[in-house]
């Protein structure tokens, strides 16, 4: 457990020192959402109606931005080999790196989301659900993304390949994430959608580190 935190802390520190961590993803998130009123016009009803979808799609793309670097830099400078040689399962290493990715990307996105919801005139009834759904959703996104990030190691133009690999896998999270917020706005119960999002997270929690570790071993051979 202490080694898990040790790796997570190092990755968070690296993200902040390099400046590519949370700040860039959040800036992208904000800018992408802000583009929509310019594109579809400032009509309040229209913006309120698409707000949940716009925020979710932008969050999805933003969380993918820094994924390419998740294992790439460690792979290139030899750190990944050494991490694989520490006396702990590689799956735990992956989980620690995913945790750090979520802390530097997912968490700032969640913090910025209510502000953007306000900008898009979302009814305040939806705010709490938006935050809960984003929390569950971004955790799954980071986990799923780790599999893609591990698979693209060693390939050229990995970033594009990464998005082709994992964007389809993001679709279920997107559907139920937007569904939860829309249900809250319409006054329906949000329990089923949130339960499905929770189920995605619980399924991804063991599966994705396992799959990523397998891909990493393959890349290092």
């Amino acid at each position: 457990m202490s080694r898990f935190l040790h790796i997570a802390r190092r990755d968070v520190r690296l993200a902040f020192r390099q400046g590519i961590g949370g700040l860039m993803a959040v800036m992208f998130f904000v800018l992408a959402v802000v583009l929509f009123p310019f594109g579809v016009g400032p009509e309040v009803n229209m913006l309120a109606r698409i707000s949940a979808g716009v925020i979710w799609v932008a969050a999805l793309l933003a969380s993918m931005l820094s994924l390419e670097q998740l294992f790439q830099t460690d792979f290139e400078d030899g750190s990944l080999e050494l991490l694989a040689l520490t006396p702990m399962p590689l799956e735990v290493v992956v989980l620690a790196k995913v945790t750090a990715h979520w802390l530097t990307t997912g968490l700032p996105l969640i913090a910025a989301a209510p502000l953007l919801a306000l900008l898009l005139h979302m009814n305040t009834d939806g705010f709490a659900v938006l935050i809960v759904a984003l929390a569950l959703g971004t955790l799954s996104l980071s986990l799923i993304g780790a599999v893609g990030a591990a698979l693209i190691l060693g390939s050229r133009r990995g970033g594009v390949l990464l998005s082709l690999l994992i964007l389809p896998l993001y679709i279920p999270v997107l559907i139920f994430g937007v569904g939860a917020v829309d249900a809250a706005l319409a006054g329906f119960t949000v329990r089923p959608q949130l339960l499905v999002l929770g189920a995605f997270f619980l399924a991804a929690l063991p599966l994705c580190p396992w799959a990523s570790a397998a891909a990493l071993r393959q890349a290092m051979e």
Binding site: S79, E81, L82, E221
Partner: protein, 221 residues
């Protein structure tokens, strides 16, 4: 007495057999120097020994027990130095070293920082402790990598061209570190092209195990 052995090892890289039928044995306090031309499989053998690469056939054993049966225990007893230095440009020298030291078992009780100072001292880079990795020269990075293996005790050192970019003084420090390690019952396997003073080392010439014109993918057919 502790012994690290490999029996009948076969290594396959990308459809091509690099070496076959290779045996080796290292006793406690012993050293094995890997010799052979470029491409004869010195690095591959070291990666095999570390467990980064599974042998196509054959077994590696530690004290008679196959290392593949308990890879985590095997990783806990080895230090591997590859071609890459795994130095993070944004972390200081001390931070880089402290991270790797913190992941090792058997570190001295309490703070992993305890062993960092003396390790930097060993390779003459203590004055660089607060300098970020990006300002280091190639030789200084190499020294930092080597300092990593003396921060935490491990009985088996696997060194792949450790003297690359090192000056004479640092090479002497490394030779002294290896001698000290072996005096304490440690083992060293080193692949090198430069002259390194390793007393009483067994030399394993990999050219003798090279496989010629085997299979469709052979490069020299």
């Amino acid at each position: 007495m502790t012994q690290f052995t490999g029996r009948n090892l076969v290594c396959v890289r990308g459809e091509r057999r690099v070496f076959a039928g290779l045996d080796f044995a290292v006793d406690a306090g012993g050293a094995l120097v890997l010799a052979g031309a470029n491409g004869s499989g010195k690095s591959s053998l070291l990666r095999l020994m570390a467990g980064l690469l599974p042998p196509a056939s054959g077994t590696l054993s530690w004290d008679g027990a196959a290392t593949a049966a308990d890879p985590e225990a095997h990783r806990a007893r080895l230090h591997y130095v590859g071609h890459l230095d795994a130095v993070k440009p944004v972390l200081t020298v001390a931070e880089n070293l402290r991270f790797w030291a913190g992941l090792r078992p058997g570190r001295r009780a309490g703070n992993p920082g305890d062993s960092v100072g003396p390790a930097l001292e060993t390779f003459g880079i203590a004055h660089l402790a607060d300098v970020p990795g990006r300002f280091l020269s190639a030789g200084q990075k190499r020294r930092l990598t080597l300092a990593r293996i003396v921060t935490a005790p491990a009985p088996l050192w696997l060194l792949d061209e450790p003297t690359t970019a090192l000056d004479e003084a640092a090479t002497a420090s490394l030779e002294a570190a290896i001698a000290g390690h072996r005096a304490g019952g440690g083992m060293v396997v080193v692949a090198t092209h430069t002259k390194m003073a390793v007393d009483g080392a067994r030399v394993l010439d990999l050219s003798g195990f090279a496989v010629r014109s085997q299979g469709a993918g052979a490069l020299d057919s």
